[in-house]
C-alpha cells in the first residue's frame, strides 16, 4: 500500500511537547498556567441572547460573509475603537475563530515558493498554515532586548526577492509585547518598500494595560496591503464559540471569501448571534475582565522577578514570558521538572519558535489565589535546584 499521507501533511511538525502535556492530564492538583484562554465564563447576556435565538429557530446557514447585522456592528466597533475603516458590506468576513481567518488569509495570498516572514516567538499555527499553502515560513527573531517588539533591522535581514508577506501578532502570544504607532511605522516603511502584504493578528487588541492598541492598518499607508484578523475569544471570554473575523480591502477580502465559502460555508449562526450581543452589551463585562487581568499581571510579574525569574512587563494579552536562563536549565527541562516536582504547568518558550528558547510562557488567566499558589511552588522549585 502506498503512503497516502500527503507530503505537506508530513512536512508540518507534530507538536514536540505533546507527551509533556499528556502527562499534565494524568496528574492531580496541577496548577495550569498553560492555557491561553480566559478563566472567566462568557458574560451571561451573550449566552442568553444566543440561547433565545436558538429557541426562536435561528439555526440555519447565514450568508457566507456572516450576518449583515454583525458585520455592520463590527464595522462601527472597529471605527470607534481603533479608527479602522472597513465596510460591513464587502470588507469583513465572519470566520470560525481567528484560526480559520488566518488559514484563509494565508491561502488567499501565498503561492508555492513564496516566502512568508513570521515575527517570532509567535502563536504555533502560523508556520504550519504557510507550509500547507505551499509557502516557506521564514522566522524573524524578536528579542528580549527589544521587549519582544519586531525590530525593523531584524526584519530587513530576512527579506529576499521571494518574500511575499509578513505575519505579526501584537499584543503578542506568547510574550505579551505590544507595538506602538512609532514601532509600526518603522516596519511599515520596509513593508511598503519591499511591496509586502501584512497579515496582522490582533486577537488580543482589547487586552492592553498601558495604552490603547494601535491597529496596524491605521499606520502610514498600510491599510491597502493589510489583512486584519481579530475575534471574540479573548476579549469576551468566548473561546468555545469560535467566532473570528477577517478584514481587508475588497479585492483581498473577495479572494479569502472564495476559500471560506468552500471550506467553511459560514461561521455557526448561534455564535454570530452571541458575538453581536457582545458588541451591543458586553463592554462593561469586558472592561472588568481587562481590569482584573491587569491586577493579576502586576502581581504575577512582580512575583516572578522577586523569586528570581527575570520578566519584562508584558503590556498586552495575558501572558508573562520570563527567562529561565539564570537557572541553567533549558526551557523544556525547566517546564518538565517544574511540572513533575511542583505540579505547575507552563509552556516552554521554544514551542513558539525562534527567540522563545530559554523562556517559559505563563498564562495569568487564572485566579489570583492560584497565581499566588503557583508563585509559591515556583519559588520552592527554584530553591531546590
Amino acid at each position: 500500500m502506498r503512503n497516502f499521507v500527503s507530503e505537506r501533511a508530513r512536512e508540518i511538525p507534530p507538536s514536540g511537547i505533546r507527551k509533556f502535556f499528556d502527562l499534565v492530564l494524568t496528574m492531580e492538583d496541577v496548577i495550569s498556567l498553560g492555557v491561553g484562554e480566559p478563566d472567566f465564563r462568557t458574560p451571561w447576556n451573550i449566552c442568553e441572547s444566543s440561547i433565545y435565538s436558538i429557541e426562536q429557530g435561528t439555526t440555519s446557514y447565514t450568508s457566507n460573509k456572516g450576518l449583515q447585522s454583525l458585520r455592520d456592528a463590527l464595522s462601527r466597533h472597529l471605527a470607534k475603537n481603533y479608527n479602522l475603516q472597513y465596510s460591513g458590506d464587502d470588507e469583513i468576513i465572519i470566520t470560525s475563530g481567528v484560526s480559520e481567518a488566518l488559514d484563509i488569509a494565508i491561502r488567499a495570498v501565498v503561492d508555492p515558493g513564496d516566502e512568508v516572514l513570521i515575527a517570532q516567538p509567535s502563536y504555533v499555527s502560523y508556520a504550519p498554515c504557510v507550509t500547507l499553502a505551499g509557502g516557506t515560513a521564514v522566522p524573524v527573531r524578536c528579542t528580549e532586548k527589544d521587549h519582544f517588539k519586531l525590530n525593523a533591522d531584524a526584519l530587513a535581514e530576512q527579506i529576499t526577492g521571494k518574500s511575499k508577506a509578513l505575519i505579526i501578532n501584537f499584543p503578542n502570544n506568547p510574550t505579551g509585547a505590544v507595538m506602538e504607532e512609532s514601532d509600526l511605522k518603522a516596519i511599515a516603511d520596509l513593508v511598503i518598500d519591499h511591496d509586502l502584504l501584512l497579515i496582522s493578528d490582533e486577537v488580543y487588541a482589547e487586552l492592553t494595560y498601558e495604552k490603547r492598541h494601535c491597529a496596524t492598518a491605521t499606520v502610514a499607508d498600510l491599510r491597502e496591503r493589510t489583512i486584519t484578523l481579530n475575534g471574540f475569544s479573548k476579549a469576551y471570554a468566548m473561546t468555545g464559540w469560535r467566532i473570528g473575523y477577517l478584514c481587508a480591502p475588497k479585492e483581498l477580502c473577495d479572494a479569502a471569501l472564495k476559500i471560506h465559502q468552500y471550506v467553511m460555508l459560514c461561521a455557526p449562526v448561534m455564535g454570530q448571534v452571541g458575538a453581536l450581543e457582545a458588541l451591543r452589551s458586553a463592554e462593561e463585562d469586558k472592561n472588568s475582565m481587562v481590569n482584573e487581568y491587569r491586577l493579576r499581571r502586576n502581581m504575577f510579574v512582580a512575583g516572578l522577578n522577586r523569586i528570581g525569574l527575570s520578566c519584562h512587563v508584558p503590556e498586552g494579552a495575558f501572558y508573562a514570558f520570563p527567562s529561565v536562563k539564570s537557572t541553567g536549565l533549558s526551557d523544556v527541562e525547566f517546564a518538565e521538572r517544574l511540572l513533575k516536582e511542583q505540579r505547575v504547568a507552563v509552556v516552554p518558550g521554544s514551542v513558539f519558535g525562534t527567540g522563545g528558547e530559554d523562556h517559559i510562557r505563563c498564562a495569568y488567566a487564572v485566579s489570583r489565589k492560584e497565581l499566588n499558589e503557583a508563585l509559591g511552588r515556583m519559588e520552592t522549585f527554584l530553591q531546590d535546584l
Binding site: 502535556f21 492555557v35 465564563r41 504555533v124 481590569n291 491586577l295 502586576n298 502581581m299 504547568a345 513558539f352
Partner: protein, 163 residues
C-alpha cells in the same frame, strides 16, 4: 476621589482581606500610599466597614428574611427622611431604601423565625405614624447576594494547556 481610589474600592469590595502590600503590587502603588488612601477613605466614611458575605442558608442558623414595602405619607420639610431614619434604627432592619413605584420604602428585615418577623412588622412598623400600608414578602430562597451567586455552579472543564 480619583481613579486610583476607585480602583482600591473595587479591589476591597471584592476582597477586603488583602494586605496593603498585596494591593500595592497589583496596582503599582507604594504600600504606604495604599494605606494612606485606605485610611482617608475610611475617615471619609466612603468605606463604612469590612464585612463578610455569608451564605446563611448553608450556615443553617434558620434565620428568616422578609422584604417589606411601605406606603408612607411624607412629612412637610422632611419628606421621607425622618421616618426612614427612625425605621433604620431597628436592629432587625438590615437594608432600607426609598424607591419609586407603588410603594415608597423598602426594608429587608431578618429574624429568628417567621413569627418574630411578623411580630416585628405588626407591632413596630405597621403602627408607626404616617405608614399607610405594608406588604410583607417572606424570602423563600436567595440565589444571589451583593453580586455573589449563592448556588453551586458546576466547574467548567478546561483544557490543561493550549498554545
Amino acid at each position: 476621589m480619583d481613579e486610583k481610589d476607585l480602583e482600591l474600592l473595587r479591589i476591597l469590595e471584592e476582597n477586603s482581606r488583602l494586605s496593603a502590600e498585596e494591593i500595592a503590587t497589583m496596582t503599582n502603588l507604594a504600600a504606604g500610599e495604599v494605606e494612606a488612601r485606605v485610611h482617608a477613605l475610611e475617615a471619609a466614611q466612603v468605606i463604612k466597614r469590612y464585612s463578610t458575605v455569608i451564605n446563611w442558608e448553608k450556615a443553617g442558623n434558620g434565620e428568616v428574611s422578609a422584604i417589606i414595602e411601605l406606603k408612607v405619607s411624607p412629612e412637610r420639610d422632611f419628606g421621607y427622611d425622618r421616618i426612614a431614619e427612625r425605621l433604620s434604627r431597628f436592629r432587625q432592619v438590615r437594608t432600607l431604601r426609598l424607591i419609586t413605584g407603588t410603594y415608597d420604602l423598602q426594608l429587608i428585615v431578618t429574624g429568628k423565625n417567621m413569627q418574630e418577623v411578623s411580630r416585628f412588622v405588626s407591632e413596630h412598623v405597621a403602627p408607626m405614624d404616617r405608614i399607610r400600608e405594608t406588604a410583607t414578602h417572606i424570602v423563600m430562597k436567595s440565589y444571589k447576594e451583593n453580586g455573589n451567586a449563592l448556588f453551586e455552579q458546576p466547574e467548567t472543564e478546561r483544557l490543561p494547556y493550549s498554545f
